[in-house]
């Protein structure tokens, strides 16, 4: 089976090269060659909404058409595939939705606040699918892992407890304002150096609000940044099961991790009661997980509204994106705070870092699988 696949790959490559060459020499355009090689585009998707999500997942998994970005974003997908008895495999998805659009991925990963909007909406960069897409929600499937949090190193928290508490207090005030005024928040983010259009920014803000104010069970949350014990535990349990580490030292550490090794609720509790003194360190920075966008609107709002200044902090928001590792940046002291997914913090601590989650901004998973109806 493997051998034949390889032989096939070699043959196809050789054929493509020859066809490209003949295309060149016979002065026909190379577009002909590419269209000639594209013979069939599997007409299997007979869209009927009656098909249950489970069947859909099983079918896509069997075809090898479940997409995810990998790079530490794949654990919920693994948990979902396992739930339906499928092999833990996915196709590596690019940071656009072209693979979903052209049908090479039938179940594509999407964040509710980002890719889902691009697929549905018709503004700049959108794929205009509207209500022709269906979603499978990780929260509903019971495989939710918590995402965007706020963290620093244990050492930093110990040395600068008041800075940490002041930073949480001002940031959560920013999140509260942003969730109450998503449109204004979107505008603030857009003006602060946004990576996407203002329309998409507004969509993102409205979706992020839902993630901050609803838990994995669908209940309303009023305490911004609260660490829900059960959801955190589920995240850790799933992480232990689906994060596969080749380094045996790290793998052993991962198995032994408890919630107390990765988070502390005390800083957030004090911050909410506003019981903190003058910050030890006043100039601080926060590393975002991605480019400036409404995903991080709370921090931009806190900065713009002067909430950080009010608690005596001068905050520099550092943009992420590409291959910037937020855990590494915080661990080596380049920045003081960071935003990451809880699973990424867990694998970093398993690998030997000493990071501490101090607030949990997103109360539910924002990951969904999208399919064409």
């Amino acid at each position: 089976m493997r051998l034949s696949k390889k032989a096939l790959a070699v043959l196809i490559t050789a054929a493509m090269i020859t066809s490209a060459m003949t295309a060149c020499s016979s002065s026909s355009s190379s577009a002909d060659a590419s269209s000639a090689s594209s013979s069939s585009t599997a007409g299997s998707s007979t869209a009927d909404g009656a098909t249950a999500d489970g069947d859909r997942i099983i079918a896509a998994a069997k075809e090898g058409k479940v997409g995810n970005w990998g790079l530490g974003n794949e654990y919920e997908i693994f948990a979902l595939l396992t739930k339906y008895g499928q092999e833990n495999k996915f196709i590596s998805q690019a940071f656009d939705m072209d693979g979903f659009d052209d049908g090479s991925i039938t179940l594509a990963s999407a964040m509710t606040y980002n890719e889902l909007g691009l697929v549905k909406n018709s503004y700049e960069g959108g794929y205009k699918y509207g209500d022709k897409v269906g979603i499978i929600d990780m929260n509903d499937e019971g495989v939710a892992m918590l995402e965007d949090n706020l963290f620093c190193t244990k050492e930093f928290a110990k040395k600068n407890p008041n800075t940490v508490k002041a930073f949480i207090a001002a940031s959560m005030k920013g999140w509260k304002y942003a969730c109450e005024n998503p449109e204004e928040a979107a505008k603030i983010v857009y003006e602060a150096g946004s990576s996407v259009s203002s329309d998409h920014q507004a969509y993102m803000a409205s979706e992020v609000k839902k993630l901050c104010e609803t838990d994995t069970k669908g209940n309303k949350v009023t305490d911004y940044g609260k660490m829900d014990e059960a959801a955190m535990q589920q995240t850790l349990d799933l992480a232990k099961k689906y994060i596969k580490l080749d380094d045996s030292t790290a793998a052993d550490k991962l198995k032994s991790l408890t919630l107390d090794d990765i988070r502390s609720t005390s800083y957030w509790e004090d911050a909410m009661k506003e019981s903190f003194d003058k910050p030890e360190k006043t100039d601080v920075s926060i590393q975002l997980k991605w480019l400036p966008q409404a995903q991080f609107m709370g921090y931009f709002v806190a900065n713009a509204k002067g909430y950080y200044k009010d608690v005596g902090l001068n905050v520099n928001i550092v943009s992420g994106g590409g291959d910037i590792g937020e855990t590494t940046a915080v661990n080596n002291g380049t920045v003081d705070f960071g935003v990451t997914w809880v699973s990424n913090l867990i694998s970093a601590n398993a690998g030997g870092m000493d990071l501490l989650e101090i607030a949990q901004v997103y109360q539910r998973s924002g990951l969904v699988l999208v399919y064409k109806k």
């Binding site: 096939l8 790959a9 070699v10 490559t13 090898g64 990998g70 590596s92 998805q93 072209d98 590792g325």
Partner: protein, 268 residues
């Protein structure tokens, strides 16, 4: 004669000892933490050699699976690219008027960064197979092929056209046709140039294979493993794959140098 070969051997020994000694010093500094102080980094981002070697030992099966996947892509691309590059050079040498111009275009392929080329090729090859594994392999091989093709065509063209003085006149006085001239004069003359091209394209084939894995749909390969592990902050494992990548590169280069010595020695 014997003096000459003696000094040659001395040279060879010297050229082996120095890098080895430097390597030994480097590894010692690395293991003792001196290197970390010099580079102002920690043992987290730059793990100790012993830890890296342990990981390589513990995961040899998985590592070999990834090595074969990367090696397969690099070698296939190298072979396809070199053959294609040589054929283009032959074509260019036969029709010099169009040839030299088209070579300029092809050599400009070398200037395209792989990170820009990879997504385009992956899109282009999307329909070749319903199996992600197959179409990803095809895409990666095509990327390596394009990159390797450029250096071969430019060098081989020089080998096919920059002939020893009067050799062409000599062929003409013998009444040799174009085919004979190619087989007896141009082809042998181009052999050293082929190796010059390979000295560039062998390392490049490995690098482009590793980078193209970043973008491929099917998740496999040494390059992909390096990126995955760095992003989930598993630097020790990432370093294990980095060391493996270095070993592949050095091994292929040594093989090439050995082959070159063998082939070119026979010619003399």
């Amino acid at each position: 004669m014997s003096v000459r070969s003696n000094s040659k051997r001395k040279n060879a020994v010297q050229s082996a000892i120095l890098p080895l000694a430097f390597g030994a010093v480097l590894v010692t500094a690395w293991q003792t933490g001196l290197l970390h102080k010099l580079l102002n980094t920690d043992e987290y981002v730059l793990p100790y050699p012993t830890r890296i070697l342990t990981i390589i030992g513990e995961n040899s099966d998985k590592i070999m699976e990834n090595v074969w996947a990367s090696l397969e892509v690099a070698l296939l691309g190298l072979v396809f690219g070199s053959i294609l590059g040589y054929l283009i050079a032959v074509f260019a040498a036969a029709f010099t008027k169009i040839g030299s111009g088209s070579l300029t275009i092809i050599s400009s392929f070398n200037a395209i960064p792989i990170v820009a080329l990879a997504p385009v090729i992956i899109n282009w090859t999307k329909d070749v197979s319903p199996e992600a594994e197959v179409r990803s392999t095809v895409a990666k091989v095509v990327i390596v092929t394009i990159v390797c093709m450029a250096s071969m065509s430019v060098n081989a063209y020089r080998g096919l056209t920059e002939l020893p003085a009067f050799s062409q006149d000599l062929m003409k006085t013998y009444g040799a046709g174009r085919i004979t001239e190619f087989a007896k004069l141009r082809l042998p003359n181009s052999v050293p140039y082929i190796f010059t091209a390979l000295r560039v394209s062998v390392p490049v084939s490995i690098i482009s294979a590793l980078v193209s894995e970043y973008f491929a749909e099917y998740v496999i390969g040494v390059g992909r493993q390096i990126r995955e592990n760095i992003l989930i902050a598993q630097y020790s494992t990432a370093w294990a794959y980095i060391i493996v990548a270095c070993v592949i590169g050095i091994a292929m280069y040594v093989l090439l140098i050995a082959a070159e010595a063998l082939v070119l020695k026979k010619r003399r």
